[in-house]
């Protein structure tokens, strides 16, 4: 008996079998790894978002400042109109060598002898060639200015602008730098005297395109994008809402409406560049509308935005409870009256949210606009939607293709402007949703 007991107790005490290995440790490790992969994926996305935004902002914020040179310039008659022929031949004022005036004024300020030609050439590199246009416009609008000395503000050249903002690596050998030590010395002198200074870059928002980065601006692109958005809004909101009302409230269930529905879903997935081809073939080639015009761009973007707006509007209409419709119909309203007087106003916040998101998408769209010729060099602000123009994203594309360093700054600045518009629009949509969204 004792044997058995001892055997039994021995079993219990000494040979307690280890718990069956069901791999719990391994499984928990797998669980932790899996969880980590998920976190890493989200982190990967967010890190790239951060790098993207940081790149744009760090490269672009300086574009909002512009180095300018303000100094008294003598509009010497000898240089502008030596033969005194401006009465008989107004072309003299157009073709005069205005940059020479700026150069001489700067040279005088810096105390450089007029015989020191190499130095003078370096002085010419300080200011932008756009000074020619600035001075010419002053003289042409008021010829009596000739012979006087007037303080004028001209833009510094792109290289000086970059150097003054500290974007050049000054440890590089002088020969392989775009700014010489002499010019840097002058820049410091001029800056100390207050002649050369950084100011807010209004030109970026006003000027048209230019091949000189310091004078290039987004004016044309902003106006063009404004036209585009106006046309898209005016066309796509009514058409989209009308189409949704028909499909959601009136359409009988038949082949035709099925086809329309499948169509709309497919159109939402068609690549945007195909819409550009459509616009080129139909609006420009067939209907004969002018190339590069915001009108054509607006029509193309409208077709592109319509599916988005229709899908959003239908969701908003569907969210209005049937009791509202029943109540209106019960009080004797017609179906039309029910929808236009009761359902539509209640669905409006949802519709507007969808519209704003569609518009924001259209604002950033580039590819179709390239095909209909909005990628043109336009220096003058378009007066009507039929004039040649560019748009904000297209301007970014054009500047991104320029080689000069200063254009990288401009491009990033333009992207900041574009993103700012998009943020405002999306915030507007979110606020609209928060403010008016109703749970039934």
């Amino acid at each position: 008996m004792t044997d058995i007991v001892s055997q039994a107790s021995g079993k219990v005490v000494s040979a307690a079998p280890p718990r069956r290995d069901i791999g719990i440790r391994r499984r928990y490790a797998a669980e932790r790894r899996f969880r980590f992969y998920g976190l890493a994926a989200i982190a990967f996305g967010l890190v790239f978002l951060f790098i993207l935004l940081w790149t744009v902002v760090s490269k672009g914020y300086t574009a909002f400042l512009q180095t300018e040179i303000t100094l008294p310039i003598t509009f010497s008659e000898q240089l502008i109109d030596p033969g005194n022929k401006r009465e008989s031949d107004p072309k003299v004022l157009q073709t005069a060598n205005y940059p020479l005036l700026v150069r001489d004024a700067l040279a005088e300020k810096l105390g450089i002898a007029s015989s020191d030609r190499p130095a003078l050439r370096q002085v010419s590199g300080l200011f932008s060639d756009s000074a020619r246009v600035t001075l010419r416009d002053m003289v042409v609008s008021d010829p009596s200015i000739i012979g006087k000395t007037v303080p004028v503000t001209v833009l510094a050249s792109a290289n000086i602008d970059s150097a003054f903002k500290g974007q050049f690596d000054l440890t590089v050998d002088e020969g392989s730098r775009k700014v010489s030590d002499q010019q840097l010395g002058w820049v410091n002198t001029l800056a100390e005297e207050g002649v050369l200074s950084k100011g807010f870059n209004t030109g970026l928002f006003v000027n048209g395109n230019s091949s000189r980065p310091e004078a290039a601006g987004l004016g044309v692109a902003l106006v063009g994008s404004l036209y585009l958005m106006g046309i898209v809004l005016v066309l796509s909101l009514p058409i989209g809402v009308a189409a949704s009302i028909y499909l959601e409230e009136f359409a009988p269930k038949n082949r035709l409406t099925d086809l329309i529905e499948v169509n709309i879903n497919n159109l939402a997935a068609v690549p945007s560049i195909v819409y550009g081809l459509l616009g080129l073939a139909v609006f420009i080639n067939f209907a004969g509308l002018p190339r590069s015009a915001p009108l054509v761009g607006g029509l193309v973007l409208t077709l592109m935005t319509l599916p988005t707006i229709i899908i959003a509007t239908r969701a908003a209409l569907r969210a209005v409870p049937p009791s509202i419709r029943s109540a209106a119909l019960g009080l004797g309203a017609s179906r039309m009256q029910t929808i236009f007087h009761h359902v539509l106003p209640l669905a409006m916040p949802g519709i507007l949210t969808g519209t704003i998101i569609g518009l924001a998408h259209a604002l950033g769209e580039t590819a179709p606009l390239l095909l209909i010729g909005m990628v043109a060099f336009v220096a003058n602000v378009p007066a009507t939607p039929l004039d040649p123009s560019t748009a904000l994203p297209v301007q970014i594309y054009m500047w991104a293709n320029e080689a000069e360093r200063a254009f990288v700054e401009r491009t990033s600045g333009a992207i900041i402007v574009l993103l700012a518009f998009l943020i405002i629009m999306n915030l507007g949509a979110i606020l609209l949703r928060r403010r008016f969204e109703r749970r039934w």
Partner: protein
């Protein structure tokens, strides 16, 4: 009279008609509006519609048809030797006539007489008025231009007279029909219903427009370049041929398609794991607070315009990869030469993949959260860990939806333009090294269609053949995605 002014007048008539209709409805009701079938507004709207719609249709039809009639009768005035020329030369001559016709009203009497005596001075005189005439004018052109101007003027006046007459007549007769028993509301609502139907048919018209416009231009292209050379050609060398050059270049689709698929593949390689894991984490692990923070932030990636990604690839990712490869090469072999080009398949693919992350993650997130709670609870209750539940239960249940989402994402990758335009390069090559540039269908569409266009050369028309190929591929992917989702969807209820 310009069309804008005419429409303005018609609108004004319609506005007056609306007021008159209302007043008349009130008058026939004798101040008792309950006697009317519809509310007075509807009578006003009915009269306004009767005054505006018929003339509007007439104006639209007239504007569409009259140019053809005017053109053909102006061409009739051409001398016989011009009529004998080729159609292209005739339309060139007509173009000049149209330009001259535009310039004629700007001339003074004396200038006109001087030109009539000596048409060779026309070019110079017109230039001072800001009208550029392409070539030296011939005497008959002046006459034809005068005819053109005359006919256009007559046509416009006639249109205005007809439209305004029709508008007034419509207003008059509809006003007479206003009576208490008249069902104005039903009629107005019928018109509105038609307008709604018209709006929703725009979706179909767009599709027809896309297919028809691209198909006609593409067929035009295939008359110049045989279809099999396009679809199975392995060399892309469109050769912008100058005037007189006989060879039209080679238009092989294969290298472009290879580049498109390769870059799309790299993009999916980045986007699918990241997007899927992000979706799984957000659906299954994240606290509500983290979800409400991370989800919108990830979706910001979808809201950034693609041109910004393109710029990012061009100035940041491309140079970074190039320098990185140079450093790696230097560490390994001592030779600091980069083996990744700044513009390469991998640059474009990575950046496009980042762009696609939110598409994958939000589509899959919706699908994963749609898997019923009971499946999850059952698996967890049997002792599976969360990750096992996800891998063995939830993902299989959500698979058709996820495959559908991935196909839709792939179609987006194939149709993406701006990133590849800036980051993939323009060299149409067939090779398998992801560190070298390749080009895509969309890049070539943009390349062929920016700059000066003439719609007769295969160099331009090939873009439409590329476009319709792209359209068909993306359409097929989307339809297949829908099919998969419908066919394999698990029915839980």
């Amino acid at each position: 009279m310009s069309t804008t002014l005419l429409i303005g007048i018609l609108l004004a008539i319609a506005a007056v008609a609306y007021t008159l209709g209302r007043m008349r409805a009130n008058a026939v009701a004798g101040g008792k509006s309950s006697a009317l079938h519809s509310r007075p507004n509807y009578y006003g709207a009915y009269v306004a519609l009767a005054a505006f719609l018929p003339p509007l249709i007439v104006v639209a039809a007239w504007l569409a048809i009259s140019p053809f009639i005017v053109n053909s009768s102006v061409r009739d005035t051409f001398p016989d030797e011009v009529k004998a020329q080729s159609p292209a030369q005739q339309s060139l001559a007509f173009g000049m006539v149209a330009t001259i016709a535009r310039g004629l009203p700007k001339l003074t009497e004396e200038e006109l007489r001087a030109i009539q005596q000596d048409p060779s001075t026309l070019q110079a005189v017109f230039a001072t008025k800001g009208v550029a005439v392409a070539a030296e004018a011939r005497p008959y052109m002046l006459e034809s231009a005068a005819t053109l101007n005359g006919m256009t003027r007559t046509s416009r006046l006639a249109l205005a007279a007809v439209a305004i007459g029709l508008s007034l007549a419509g207003a008059f007769f509809s006003l007479r029909s206003v009576a208490p028993r008249f069902r104005a509301r039903n009629k107005v609502e019928r018109v509105i219903l038609w307008a709604l139907l018209l709006a929703s048919s725009i979706a179909i018209l767009t599709t027809i427009g896309i297919v028809a416009s691209m198909a006609t231009e593409a067929l035009h292209f295939f008359t110049m370049v045989p279809a099999h050379e396009f679809f199975f050609g392995t060399v892309w060398d469109p050769r912008f041929a100058g005037a007189g050059a006989t060879s039209s270049g080679q238009f092989g689709l294969i290298p472009l398609l290879a580049g498109t698929l390769y870059i799309g593949f790299v993009a999916m390689l980045v986007a699918v794991p990241v997007g899927l894991f992000a979706a799984i984490y957000m659906a299954e692990y994240a606290t509500p607070r983290m979800r409400s923070l991370a989800k919108p932030l990830l979706e910001v990636l979808a809201g950034i315009p693609t041109i910004v990604y393109g710029f990012f690839a061009l100035v940041t990712v491309g140079p970074f990869l190039r320098d990185l490869s140079a450093q790696l090469n230097g560490l390994a072999t001592g030779n600091y030469a980069n083996f990744i080009q700044a513009q390469s398949v991998i640059t474009a693919g990575i950046v496009m993949g980042i762009m696609l992350i939110p598409y994958v993650s939000s589509l899959s997130d919706d699908i994963i959260t749609a898997v019923p709670r009971a499946l999850r609870d059952g698996s967890l209750g049997l002792g599976a860990t969360r990750s096992e539940t996800i891998k063995r239960v939830i993902l299989p249940a959500a698979l058709p939806g996820i495959v559908g989402a991935l196909l839709m994402t792939a179609s987006r990758a194939i149709g993406e333009t701006m990133i590849v335009v800036l980051a993939a390069g323009v060299a149409a090559r067939m090779q398998i090294n992801p560190f070298e540039p390749m080009t895509t269908v969309t890049v070539k569409i943009v390349n062929q269609l920016t700059g000066d266009l003439e719609f007769t050369s295969p160099q331009t028309l090939v873009a439409f053949a590329l476009g319709i190929t792209l359209f068909c591929i993306t359409l097929a992917l989307n339809i297949y995605a829908l099919y998969i989702v419908r066919k394999y969807r698990e029915q839980y209820e």
